[in-house]
Point group: C2
Chain length 408, copies 2
């Protein structure tokens, strides 16, 4: 397995002003491509440190990808550091200059003089054109390593990886892509998932967990030579062990899976939220084209809004309180009826940190889904802070509809 290292340059990284998400993104891509990523190193805007890291990485790894330090200011030292470390003096690249000037021309602006610096690249380097910003990247070949340098702006870095870095990697290495299958679950914690999956009997498959609250993902990484039939067999074995918390395989988010299912059936939905305060509506409306199946949402925080907007009976609010099964059911039915949709989803609960009582502590949430024939209800007792309680409540009501649609 060829080895790889990731380097990042920038004071903003070592002082903690930004988390180095580039390193994680690049590592995922390189691991997928079959590289063994050995090390990430970040250094600030200091030439000596940068040279030190470059010369060490060049002897340790087959591929090094460096991000940042390609801008026009004097803090941007990558080209200079490569020139010094590998004895390749900077040379003016007229084509690089043309492209930088062209970038400014397209926006109707004149290129500031400082940007000329970006056209000076190490002797013998291969220019990596940047169609998404001004800073060109470049690559050099050392005795052992292919070293590639791209901008630190995540959007430009990602585009350049796909368009310039990947083709170069394919030239230098016989890449056999591993196959990744992602099983997506919600409403179950990692340790319970581990218990359900039990002893993992496939030595040639790597299993890992990743939490994206409110979802828990299980990733299965198969060797390049694994057959489609084998991948399917293992995937289904694991899916069966997980059972009903599984909402999708290589699918979109929980809200996307539910939105697609509702749309495929030619149905519609609307939401009535108290404790989740608009979170469910925004999960749905974040999806492009959601207006085909999501028509409206009510955020009824005040009790009088629950009555005026959703028709919740004052007597139910008085007798059972706003956080009750009865009110959740009336909210779901109320929004379904008034919005004239197939489904109505509702939440009412205590997200905290204040407002809890002995009978109804913080984390008590009632959720309800009104369908054409029934009203499904669940009472949740959630732990954690306000954000966690709101996030998990929103997911629980969406997942209740998902289970109904998938008959699980």
């Amino acid at each position: 397995m060829p080895t790889a290292e990731i380097l990042s340059q920038g004071d903003e990284v070592v002082t903690g002003q930004v988390a180095d998400t580039n390193a994680a993104w690049l590592s995922t891509r390189l691991t997928d491509l079959g590289f063994s990523v050995m090390r990430h190193t970040s250094v600030g805007d200091r030439l000596d440190d940068l040279c030190d890291v470059l010369s060490a990485a060049a002897t340790r790894a087959d591929v090094c990808i460096g991000t940042g330090g390609l801008g026009p200011t004097q803090d941007d030292l990558t080209a200079e550091a490569v020139a010094q470390t590998f004895d390749r003096p900077l040379q003016f690249d007229p084509e690089a200059m043309n492209r930088i000037e062209g970038h400014y021309r397209r926006f109707g602006r004149e290129m500031p003089e400082v940007n000329r610096k970006q056209a000076w690249l190490p002797t013998g380097s291969h220019r990596l054109d940047n169609l998404w910003g001004t800073a060109p990247g470049f690559s050099i070949q050392t005795d052992r390593a292919v070293m590639m340098f791209v901008p630190g702006v995540p959007r430009e870095m990602r585009k350049m990886f796909d368009h310039a870095v990947l083709p170069l990697l394919r030239e230098h290495f016989d890449l056999k892509r591993t196959r990744l299958v992602t099983l997506k679950t919600t409403g179950i914690g990692e340790s319970n998932l581990q218990e359900r999956i039990g002893a993992f009997a496939y030595d040639d498959v790597t299993l890992s967990f990743r939490t994206h609250l409110p979802e828990n993902h299980i990733k299965l990484r198969f060797a390049p030579e694994a057959s489609a039939a084998y991948i399917e067999r293992v995937t289904h074995d694991i899916a069966d062990r997980i059972g009903s918390p599984l909402f999708g395989i290589d699918s979109g988010t929980l809200a996307e899976v539910v939105g697609e299912a509702v749309q495929a059936r030619g149905e519609t939905l609307a939401t009535a939220e108290s404790c989740t305060g608009g979170r469910i509506a925004s999960m749905f409306t974040a999806i492009p084209g959601s207006s085909a199946w999501f028509t409206e949402g009510a955020v009824t925080y005040a009790n009088q809004a629950k009555t005026r907007v959703l028709g919740v009976e004052t007597s139910a609010l008085e007798k059972h309180g706003a956080v009750s099964e009865s009110v959740a059911r009336q909210m779901a039915v109320g929004i379904r009826t008034r919005a004239d949709t197939t489904y109505g989803l509702a939440t009412t609960g205590i997200a905290g940190p204040g407002g809890g009582t002995e009978e109804k502590p913080v984390g008590t949430v009632h959720i309800a889904v009104a369908t054409p024939t029934d009203v499904l209800h669940r009472r949740l007792s959630l732990g954690g802070d306000r954000t966690r309680i709101q996030t998990l409540s929103a997911a629980a009501v969406i997942d209740t509809l998902r289970r109904h649609l998938q008959n699980r």
Copy 2:
């Protein structure tokens, strides 16, 4: 200035399964305390790599903080690597064992046998007790460096930094805390902010920018010896140069600033959202205690919901279209009247990626704020993807109310 390095151990970091947020968090804290953070290094679960990094860091830095690799499994190699690198064989620490067993006892469980490993610490190390998990940390003193090792679980790492690492740092170094002032803005990009601030004439103050969409923050870092009067003078100079986009100094988020102002005046607000789809309501309801001033929100995606729920005239929808000044104004007035609040906030626009026309391209958004005496309106032309358009539209309408409340 004493120097520091951050080390992370774990295959999950170098393969990109998790972004190393610990490094950014620790760097911010160490920078605040007056350390110059020189380097971050992450390596996987390989003893040789770990030993290599440890011995190099020990000669380069005055402080090294390592995260991860303290768990009970055979992948957890930190103690072993320290023992080998610095010739300090592992010794059994009975007190560490007691505490690990106690942790399990508190949860009514028996300690698995594998956890015994966590009580073996390098000879001559100082144990750092972990009250939030099972893995104890430890520190050692080398010729140059104080090296401290804490768990990789962010919650445990942060608690241990405050309770165990910080006191040790204070013992070893004469720490004078720098003073950080954060100026928060919205509705203005970084390059325009830079232009407004112009030449920065304070050599003894470090200025940096940080984008948290939809907010842009300017951080001023003052030397420990800076007087309160000087800090105030510089802060107000910069605040004056920024002008109206500034919504707070060392304040909460934009939604929190507006919520506090509304509550302080004994007023209330409600929202009517089309293109932002519940985002504004969830920004407000994410705030603890928001029910004191936020009463309800309507997410009226479908045109008939705009009419039924908010009273928008069908004729306006037909004549001007849903994305128009007239409809935005009627939505704001409609929610204010029906919810009986002091303010009504409304958005209607095209968040994309589909739905744009030549006259109203994607990114066209009308926002309106109804006050007791007036309706404020703005038309926005936003670039970027759906998430960016929704986020910036939500911020723009909240900021319109903020400017009204602050008379800016």
